[in-house]
């Protein structure tokens, strides 16, 4: 088509063209980086815990009755609680543990392999009843699970049978089996590893997300913590029944409950805000820029009515006029896109260096360019069709 004359005509309307080119360029830069940010957050949110998150309920009992001042009483009540929770219809498994998935933290400590090179490793450490693996929905991959017989609630115990996550096994034993090996704790107590479970992921303030050590025991210090795994679909009925059930064991306390999905959502608050905000920005930007193109093209059609009529008089078909405007817009879009690619990388550089952003994926750039092309065509079509409808008679009329 007649690219040469179109380009030469465009250079006579520099401001109008420059405005749209800039707008398209910034749009491309913002849209691609916004998509990049969304994708980054999505990747983070895709991280699986390896647990049956959707069917887990966290229950916390806060006692106020004086009787809870006695440790032995707390332990027996906690055990009764577990038994009571298990009887609720729809409950698959219950564990008494101080571990709460997706909290963004937990507890940790350092261990040394007995007979190893003496180096210490930081790992997450939790106490739990044997139902830990069943309730989270993770598997013992080697050795055995901890059992009721391993539980020793004596505070000054110096030995324990423990299970660890496969991540921790790999970290410390470098490909060898951990089963049967021992850890020395900072207080010189000795843990014997009886089994290894997998998977495990719990985000922590330090990068020890996949390392976990589980002591068999009862968690009943200031209150008792439980994770309840329900059958799919039973979350609502179970959570309604929990409080009544536990009050029937002992009513000297209050309860807090949260589904692990809620905890997880809270953990990803920032990501969710970023995703929502950037999605909104993308949609709005496409609308605003689109309307801008419609507006500016409309004006330029109005302004050029006479010359459109002349072209029609000189033999241009309607589709030729349509094509003229689409081509003109495509050229403008492409100039914007070229500048936009530079801007996109520039903006990305700033985001990476100043806001811990992630490097721009070139595929989003291609998607962005395609989006702008489609947007350009759609936005130009309406005014371009108006241009094609201009009657050639205009040419002979004064105005």
């Amino acid at each position: 088509m007649e690219i040469g004359p179109i380009v030469r005509a465009l250079t006579r309307n520099r401001t109008r063209v420059l405005l749209i080119v800039l707008q398209i360029a910034i749009t491309l830069a913002v849209v691609t980086n916004a998509v990049n940010m969304i994708a980054t957050e999505r990747t983070k949110m895709k991280q699986a815990s390896g647990f049956d998150d959707d069917n887990l309920l966290w229950v916390f009992s806060r006692p106020f009755a004086d009787s809870f001042g006695d440790r032995a009483f707390r332990i027996t009540t906690t055990r009764s609680d577990v038994r009571a929770l298990r009887t609720i219809p729809g409950v698959k498994s219950v564990v008494n543990t101080n571990f709460i998935p997706w909290q963004g933290g937990g507890s940790s400590g350092e261990v040394k392999a007995a007979g190893g090179d003496g180096s210490s490793y930081r790992t997450q450490e939790y106490t739990a009843s044997p139902a830990f693996t069943d309730t989270l929905g993770v598997k013992i991959v080697s050795g055995r699970n901890i059992g009721e017989g391993d539980i020793n609630d004596e505070p000054n115990a110096t030995t324990a049978n423990v299970i660890i996550s496969r991540g921790l096994e790999r970290l410390i034993f470098k490909g060898q089996s951990a089963v049967g090996k021992q850890f020395i704790e900072p207080d010189n107590s000795v843990d014997t590893i009886v089994g290894v479970f997998d998977p495990f992921y719990n985000p922590y303030g330090w990068p020890i997300h996949e390392y976990c050590l589980v002591y068999p025991g009862t968690v009943a210090r200031n209150g008792a913590l439980f994770l309840v795994r329900v059958n799919p679909g039973a979350m609502k009925s179970v959570s309604q029944a929990v409080e009544k059930k536990l009050l029937s064991v002992n009513d000297g306390r209050n309860f807090e409950m949260r589904t692990i999905s809620e905890v997880r959502d809270k953990y990803f608050t920032e990501g969710r805000i970023v995703i929502m905000a950037m999605t909104a920005v993308i949609i709005l930007i496409v609308i605003v820029t689109g309307l801008g193109i419609v507006g500016v093209t409309s004006f330029s059609v109005t302004e050029r009515k006479k010359q459109i009529g002349t072209r029609r008089a000189l033999g241009a078909t309607k589709s030729a006029i349509l094509r003229y405007f689409l081509m003109e817009n495509w050229l403008i879009t492409n100039s914007g896109v070229l500048l936009g690619i530079l801007l996109a990388y520039g903006l990305n550089y700033l985001l990476v260096t100043h806001t811990s952003g992630v490097k721009l994926d070139w595929r989003y750039l291609i998607a962005g360019v395609t989006l702008l092309w489609v947007q350009g065509i759609v936005a130009t079509l309406v005014p371009a069709m108006r241009a094609a409808a201009v009657s050639p008679v205009i040419a002979t009329r004064g105005v």
Partner: protein
């Protein structure tokens, strides 16, 4: 003349309602987005204690393992990284200094509240164990009564301060100063009731969820220790600790926040020396095995160090401002088209005696009108969006536009309207009267 120009501008806007709508909507969206995200960032970035923050300092000491430094956030081993809190025995020694004008060590813990009414169930609530200076240092507002005095701290008296909501719940909002409040196994006397207090950041304890609201119940630190209440927040230790409360008090477990108010840089320097000397002295007893590394950090520096302003907030603010720029470019394009399509009319006006200035003013007024209209609508939208975002961040905090942000948004819309309109208005006023009449 101004009134006449205003009238022409309004008439012009009303003649093309659709176009005017699109233009205003564009500006409104731009202002809404940029105001919203800069506000979110601003809420975290602003000084939580204006006027006082430069005098408030957070104290940390490196009492960690000689073998490895306290892990930094990357899990790496930055040798200058210190544990974020202090241990009880050190806090007690530091509290002896009289260099600070005010000081308080503190911790958070749950307490069990037994309402007077027999029918009401006891419940557990968040409490904070502080020294009386805490209330003044952090500008805590009182509705009834006030802080307990320093003597109550020294004698570990059973006095309490409760917040507005708790006072509503337990005493129906009446002045409860002097009333009894049963907490756990003991009876406390209420000495103060807080006025509603919603700091955006719980600046006095940033070691955990800092967007959480302040605690409902405040007790003297020493009283809490005498009740053997254990700190509820994060705690860090590297040495084994015995099971009893006594063991805990004597341990190196870092679980308390330590704040001092220092009058001047000189005081600050002498306080740093005081802390360093204390640690040197403890080193002779075999404690503090790591190199001397004590930090007396001002509140604002601490917030910066913790990274209260999340990188994502800055990124979103940048993106939203670029969006505003796009909206302004859009506005320029539309106004330029609009003004130039009116060229014949303008030529007639010019021919009939309108000066360049008149034409320029007429068009600039038109731009500012849409700018301000868009700005106001955008700000209202922004209020709604902020409320929505606040729900995400925390259920209790309200993010809203403070006067600073409202002024900024209005200014921004004026600037956006002005900058976007300047060129089109200039082009319009440059039109020659003759050229357009010829044809």
């Amino acid at each position: 003349m101004f009134a006449y120009n205003l009238r022409i501008a309004i008439k012009s806007l009303r003649r093309h309602p659709l176009l005017t709508g699109v233009i205003i909507a564009g500006i409104a969206l731009g202002i809404c987005a940029s105001t919203t995200f800069t506000t979110v960032r601003h809420m975290f970035a602003r000084d939580p204690l204006p006027g006082r923050s430069s005098r408030i300092f957070y104290v940390r000491m490196d009492n960690w393992d000689p073998a490895t430094p306290y892990p930094d956030d990357g899990g790496g081993t930055n040798p200058h990284h210190v544990p974020p809190q202090v241990a009880y025995r050190d806090a007690m020694e530091l509290m002896r200094s009289n260099i600070p004008v005010r000081q308080s060590v503190m911790f958070a813990a749950n307490v069990i509240v037994f309402p007077e009414k027999r029918a009401a169930r006891p419940y557990s609530d968040r409490g904070r164990m502080v020294f009386s200076d805490f209330f003044t240092m952090f500008g805590v507002p009182f509705h009834y009564g006030g802080p307990w005095d320093r003597r109550a701290d020294a004698k570990a008296e059973q006095v309490a301060v409760i917040d507005d909501a708790t006072n509503q719940k337990l005493f129906g909002g009446t002045n409860s100063v002097g009333k009894r409040l049963r907490l756990g196994t003991r009876d406390f006397t209420i000495v103060g009731v807080l006025a509603p207090w919603r700091p955006f950041i719980r600046m006095y304890d940033v070691t955990q969820n800092f967007v959480q609201q302040p605690e409902p119940i405040y007790l003297p630190f020493n009283t809490a220790i005498s009740m053997e209440i254990r700190p509820g927040g994060n705690s860090d230790g590297w040495k084994p600790v015995g099971p009893t409360y006594r063991d805990f008090l004597a341990s190196d477990v870092d679980c308390l926040q330590f704040w001092v108010e220092l009058r001047s840089p000189t005081d600050r320097a002498s306080y740093q020396t005081f802390v360093d000397n204390y640690v040197r002295q403890e080193k002779t007893k075999g404690r503090f095995p790591r190199p001397l590394n004590n930090q007396v950090t001002s509140l604002l520096d601490l917030l910066k160090e913790i990274g209260i302003v999340r990188p994502a907030m800055t990124a979103m603010a940048v993106m939203s401002i670029l969006f505003l720029i796009i909206c302004s470019l859009n506005l320029t394009g539309l106004l330029l088209g609009k003004f130039l399509s009116r060229a014949p009319e303008l030529s007639v006006r010019r021919a009939l005696g309108a000066t360049r200035g008149d034409i320029f003013l007429q068009h600039l007024i038109e731009c500012e009108l849409v700018g301000v209209a868009g700005g106001v609508i955008g700000m209202l939208l922004s209020l709604g969006v902020l409320r929505f975002i606040a729900k995400f961040i925390t259920a209790t905090t309200v993010i809203s536009l403070d006067p600073e942000m409202i002024l900024a948004a209005l200014f921004l819309s004026l600037v956006a309207g002005g900058i976007a309109g300047l060129y089109p208005a200039w082009r319009a006023c440059k039109l020659q009267p003759a050229v357009q009449l010829k044809v």
